[in-house]
Symmetry: C2
Subunit: 434 residues, 2 copies
């Protein structure tokens, strides 16, 4: 059997992130102030974000140097291995070559710490002592707690009440790394208290949790807010995934014909694909790049490309993006990380320009793909990642029909160790087919 893992030495890790804003064919439409509907003044963001991240949000500089302190923490799990999915290929009897990047090797188990470590570092540099955030299933909350621990910053996570009680293990991880987590709505904020008074039985929502986390950051000293997806600086930090993949594909002496990522807010997809997108835009290569959404939340596939709020509470700036509407509530699918009504403005722009494709799959078929993956490649994938797996399998099966030996690369954004109840439901035939 050929080599199955491509590993870069920790001292050869990329030393810069790639910024797609330098190469977008059309500049991004600016974020608008939710009250005035005028382009936002960067200074308006300073109560909740550190200056360096606001700068990274807006800059069109192509590469940003990764500070040494961030690289030192990345080294705990990075460079992440690239795998050749030989056993999956053999099972499918496809001539395609399938590769996947395993971002599940990070301690929090997903790609999220690529940005949580960076955001926390810049906050530390500017004297932030507390960071607040919201979390749904807890991937982002645990990644932020992991990062804050390293920079001695207090971490406060507002976790949607229903998840807080139904998915307790990422809450445990938040505690393990020293973060604080409360069910949202909570009595800790004015907004939370108001919601609790009006709707004492609510199980919460991401919109409510964002409201609480932002209020906490805005009203408390030395406290900032952190967001785990959607924004440009988040996409930027995630590009280390694709930059590593470029080196690893060179080691394998291949170039991907197709690059695939699942897509909620867009960060793991942006992470793996933007460095390849650069080469597509500048014409040196022509990979297809595919965003995979759940049928239950088909933002890029069925949403409108227009200005919309990032949250249900209409408190965030208006962003030009594909959206199903700020008040859209997707069904409770198990891929909690893909249940977002909008999508990153950068990813949205690339889809709108026709540079990126988008497709959808139902819950049942992606779990089926996840089980096939676990039984060939050995690794239990996160429900989010199974969307990318399903798409990679479908593309590989097309190659079986045409006889083409295409090279397919997808992002295994995380492991499924904290999602075992979802697999149980699949095996018990209790999974709704949203």
């Amino acid at each position: 059997m050929d080599r199955i893992k491509y590993i870069i030495d920790e001292n050869e890790m990329p030393d810069k992130w790639y910024n797609i804003l330098a190469d977008l064919p059309t500049p991004l439409a600016p974020p608008l102030n939710p009250l005035t509907k005028e382009p936002i003044d960067p200074k308006d963001l300073e109560p909740i974000f550190p200056k360096e991240l606001i700068k990274q949000e807006l800059t069109t500089q192509r590469y940003i140097k990764i500070p040494e302190e961030i690289r030192e923490i990345y080294k705990i799990w990075r460079p992440a291995p690239l795998y050749r999915a030989k056993r999956l290929e053999e099972k499918l009897k496809t001539p395609a070559h399938i590769y996947y990047k395993n971002e599940g090797v990070s301690p929090p188990g997903s790609h999220k710490p690529n940005t949580s470590v960076a955001q926390t570092y810049y906050n530390m540099k500017e004297g932030t002592e507390r960071i607040t955030t919201e979390t749904g299933a807890g991937q982002w909350g645990s990644a932020l707690s992991f990062a804050c621990n390293y920079f001695d910053i207090e971490c406060k996570v507002y976790m949607v009440t229903s998840s807080f009680y139904q998915k307790p293990y990422r809450k445990s991880l938040i505690n393990l790394w020293g973060g604080k987590v409360v069910p949202s709505p909570s009595p800790d904020t004015q907004f939370g208290r108001k919601v609790l008074e009006e709707l004492p039985d609510t199980t919460g929502s991401l919109g409510i949790a964002i409201g609480e986390a932002v209020e906490d950051a805005a009203l408390n000293e030395n406290t900032k807010y952190a967001l785990g997806s959607v924004l440009n600086h988040v996409m930027l930090h995630q590009t280390i995934i694709g930059l590593e993949c470029q080196e690893q594909m060179k080691m394998a002496e291949e170039y991907p014909d197709i690059v695939i990522g699942c897509c909620g807010g867009g960060s793991n997809l942006a992470g793996i694909s933007f460095p390849f997108m650069k080469e597509k835009i500048d014409g040196t290569q022509d990979p297809r790049i595919i965003a995979v959404e759940p049928s239950a939340c088909p933002t890029l596939n069925k949403g409108k490309y227009e200005y919309d709020y990032g949250d249900t509470g209409k408190m965030t700036p208006l962003l030009k993006m594909y959206s199903l509407g700020y008040d859209f509530v997707p069904p409770a699918i198990h891929a909690g990380g893909l249940r977002y009504h909008g999508c990153a403005p950068t990813v949205s722009a690339l889809v709108a320009e026709g540079l990126m494709e988008a497709t959808t799959y139902h819950q049942q078929e992606v779990f089926e793909a996840g089980v096939l993956f676990a039984r060939t490649e050995g690794i239990a994938p996160a429900p989010e990642s199974t969307h990318a797996i399903k798409c990679a399998i479908d593309e590989a099966l097309k190659c079986k029909v045409t006889g083409e030996e295409k090279t397919i690369l997808f992002n295994l954004s995380g492991h499924g160790h904290f999602d075992m109840t979802s697999y149980d439901k699949y095996f018990n035939g209790e999974l709704s087919n949203e």
Copy 2:
């Protein structure tokens, strides 16, 4: 900061296991037939084990070649990384150099697949179509299911009823890889039916589960039984851990003064330490080797070194080993993998000869060490592994007093992703201090 990970290329993985039986100062006392009390005839084992494993159980050949098919599956996660615990050292302000081998990177999350893959392979070669086993918390059961999946062998796991319902996620993993798992006692065996009739409300025990798994293997065609610890061939397969560590310590240009592993049946400890023990026995090096047990189950520390049964049902051969008595029932500590009344005959012999030390820790202090480890090294350790962590920390703190720059190596036998309720109890102050 210095390098923190030492990684061997998959094509440089060791191609043989090391057999300590070749170098024990005194030959092992033979296993005895439980009925006749005479040394067992290898043929007596053939109804439940394949011939090659019986051969490996008894041979004194120093090195056994690892078949290529096994190495190909090992490559999914091996060679496992060796880490320098720089952040832990800094936190402790110790001059000691602390290294740990991360066996938690395997898909089932522990060192167990090192032997499950090997055992399943040899079974496949001899035509076995089904393998049965017992499991407590599920680490071994999931590792066996993982392995059987690759060799198209049906896997049937008898899981202690209390764990089946209280620790459901490793059960989910067993299903994910295609294995079958039932709560034990079960109506699937004569022994299980008998127990259910006599004790309809029992929550089961490992002894009962062993009884069911062995009966199933003995009475059904093309069915064998697999054991995840204690036996010589299991220790043999685990030595790939220490053999890799020897290469990695060379990369780090160090040699361990102390090698540490937690100890239940003894397999992860044997795995990391036996290759170093060889050099201790032949006099080329003189590392201290320490077995760490829970105070609640201090087999090596307080047991008797004599012939005893491996199970509560007195069905297994009698093994000369340290034992707390075949009917000893340890308290329900969270390190389920360390709750065994006996210990591997090889490990026992080395302790009896004074070549290996043994120590114990209470549950509260090992979890405290586990949290410190998670907050410095980032990784959430399994409750079993926290015993080795605690011992490594204590040895490093002794160096702080003496000023010695000792090199300490321990085995991080697994991750704690499926043990988060134990951490919750620790944080909630609900952990009993057994």
